[in-house]
């Protein structure tokens, strides 16, 4: 049957990855109707939600792994895949386990996680440090210390794009790196406002203050423009998720030689397990319903997983697949994953509402030098207190 799949993967690498899904799905005798919407989740999600609530749903749709589709599930608009999950034993094969938990509501499985993306990376330009005459840092503190030298050499120490999700991401990476995993979970999982107002987070805000100072001169909007500053050596570093790697690759740079990646900022080697999942709205058409099942199963198929994630630059959700083709930085990540040094992604912990409030706060904090860390922390604690 024909199945329309909506997603916001439109760049070259992403599209190539989606093509793997499509290929595998079409091999089962079905047809993949591609419904790509560019502009990221903010553009695509209203479209998806409108269509699902408007009674003209697609066959399958992407959401970020986490709570984005919670209400659609609760409203009974999404298909329950518990049976298939049990049959294919998803509980066992999907790792880390919290990925599937994100798909589970009231004990029932509603989605298929397809990849793992992590945020906790500091990308450094070797050339920039060379120009500034300082060694390439190995952790956050060294990086902060090298700031003045970089500035003297006319470089932007830390590149952060102007869009709000990038600053929030940066801050959220600083929490586990500076204050550790427990504090991170206390704040975002338990929404413990006391911790959020406490001294550990104060340290994080100090670090954020440093980051703010170091990034003051960066004047680009898109994340890939910021990455481009690092690639060309105009900036010292950038805190960005593992997808940044694609940019270095396209520019023909080699990890270790031209650039350096520090997972967990080189302080706490942790990575988060964000990513994408597919949801399957309830359909009337029996053929399509059957095809949904086939698609879900195809997406988790080991070959598909490998093929997809290699193209996408992310980590497969199954532990039982061969990832020997991965590059250096990805291998570092896989190692950390294997060690179990993982934290859930903020998408899995916070509602979009909370994330959005955090976005507003951080974007203001990073662009307003007159706003003190204390002030910001107070507002931060308020947001955490009101989160659910």
């Amino acid at each position: 049957a024909e199945l329309e799949v909506t997603h916001w993967w439109t760049s070259g690498g992403e599209a190539a990855a989606v093509a793997e899904f499509a290929k595998a799905f079409e091999a089962t005798g079905n047809t993949w109707v591609d419904g790509a919407i560019a502009g990221g989740g903010s553009t695509a999600r209203p479209v998806m939600v409108s269509r699902i609530t408007g009674g003209s749903p697609m066959g399958a749709t992407q959401f970020n792994t986490g709570r984005q589709a919670e209400e659609l599930v609760e409203a009974g608009l999404m298909r329950d895949f518990t049976e298939l999950a049990e049959k294919e034993n998803w509980k066992e094969v999907i790792r880390p386990a919290n990925l599937l938990e994100g798909c589970t509501v009231d004990g029932k499985v509603y989605c298929v996680p397809v990849n793992i993306h992590s945020w906790q990376w500091l990308w450094l330009s070797n050339k920039a440090f060379e120009d500034a005459g300082v060694p390439v840092p190995t952790n956050w503190d060294e990086f902060v210390a090298a700031g003045p030298a970089l500035e003297k050499a006319g470089k932007i120490p830390l590149a952060i794009g102007g869009q709000s999700w990038q600053t929030t991401g940066t801050f959220n990476v600083l929490i586990p790196a500076i204050a550790g995993k427990d504090v991170f979970l206390k704040v975002y999982q338990d929404h413990d406002a006391e911790v959020a107002a406490g001294p550990e987070i104060a340290k994080v805000f100090k670090a954020a203050d440093d980051a703010r100072r170091l990034s003051a001169k960066s004047n680009v909007q898109d994340w890939n423009q910021a990455t481009n500053l690092v690639i060309t050596g105009q900036a010292g570093g950038q805190i960005m998720g593992d997808w940044a790697q694609g940019e270095f690759q396209v520019a023909g740079q080699v990890a270790g030689k031209d650039y350096t990646c520090l997972p967990g900022l080189g302080v706490n080697e942790l990575i988060s397990t964000g990513g994408d999942s597919f949801y399957f709205p309830k359909l009337d058409d029996a053929d399509k319903t059957a095809a949904q099942e086939v698609l879900a199963s195809t997406m988790l198929n080991p070959q598909t997983q490998v093929a997809f994630n290699l193209k996408k630059g992310s980590v497969p959700v199954r532990g039982d697949v061969d990832v020997s083709a991965a590059n250096d930085c990805m291998k570092k990540g896989l190692d950390i994953l294997a060690k179990g040094n993982i934290i859930p992604d903020t998408n899995q912990l916070n509602t979009e509402d909370t994330n959005n409030q955090l976005n507003d706060l951080f974007v203001e904090f990073f662009k307003t030098p007159s706003m003190t860390p204390e002030e910001a922390q107070k507002r931060y604690a308020d947001i955490i207190a009101s989160a659910d």
């Binding site: 903010s42 209400e71 869009q163 709000s164 004047n219 979009e352 507003d360 203001e364 662009k367």
Partner: protein
Amino acid sequence: MNTSGTAARRPSQLFRNLNAKVASIPMILTALMVFLGGTVWTIVYSFTNSKLLPRLKFVGLDQYERLWSAPRWWTSIENLVVYGVLSLIFSLVIGFVLAALLDQKIRFEGVFRTIFLYPFALSFVVTGLTWQWILNPDFGVQHLVRAIGWESFTFNPLYDQDIVIYGILIAGLWQGTGLVMCLMLAGLRGIDEDIWKAARVDGIPMWKTYLFIVIPMMRPVFITTLVIIASGIVRLYDLVVAQTSGGPGGASEVPAKYVYDYMFLAQNLGQGFAASTMMLLSVAIIVVPWAYLEFGGGKRG
């Protein structure tokens, strides 16, 4: 009197001009069900804590309390006021001046008119990007001027919180003044030739004639233009997203973007509805009495 006996009763008013009423059904439905209904619906749901989907879980004024305590909302309002006032003034002034210049029986009027109008045809998505480049200090105008030799020249509106809204204004005016110019030009062409002659015989300078005589005469055109500009201002969204995404540091946020972000990004419909209710309320306070005076009251045309 042979006729006085057969007095006719007034027939039901409902069926008079029935066709006109039938033909107006789309308008009536739109007005009632979409605009009025949608507004009421929005207001009702602004008192709920609807998240991703509209749900009738009432929470009183919570959403409004949160709205008015959100610094971003305040920034948005400030920005809209600044942008709105300036954009209104500049659109009208520039649009009028251009129209006045084009009305001087000049050559190549068609060429100039098309040049001023073409931005109206382009979508915001990329024009925003182009303006972002042009205003980018590293490779835009500032770069160019510095390269020429004026080293201390600084012009980076999109990266300075204090003036970012003016950076958006520059692009907004670029996009919108063409249409204003066209409307104004049309209005000028409707002014009685004799008025100009009378003013010339009276020895009144050109600028004074425009300012004290022609502009007051063009009131209806200004009103049409005003509705078009003002509705564009209230809906300002695409341009901001394309140019700055609300940055730097949320300094260029606008209410429509607040609404959109909360409805679709934050998945907090209640908050978005509260914000749009506030917007609608302020629009209604200004527009309804005015519209009633302008269009109601039984005068034709």
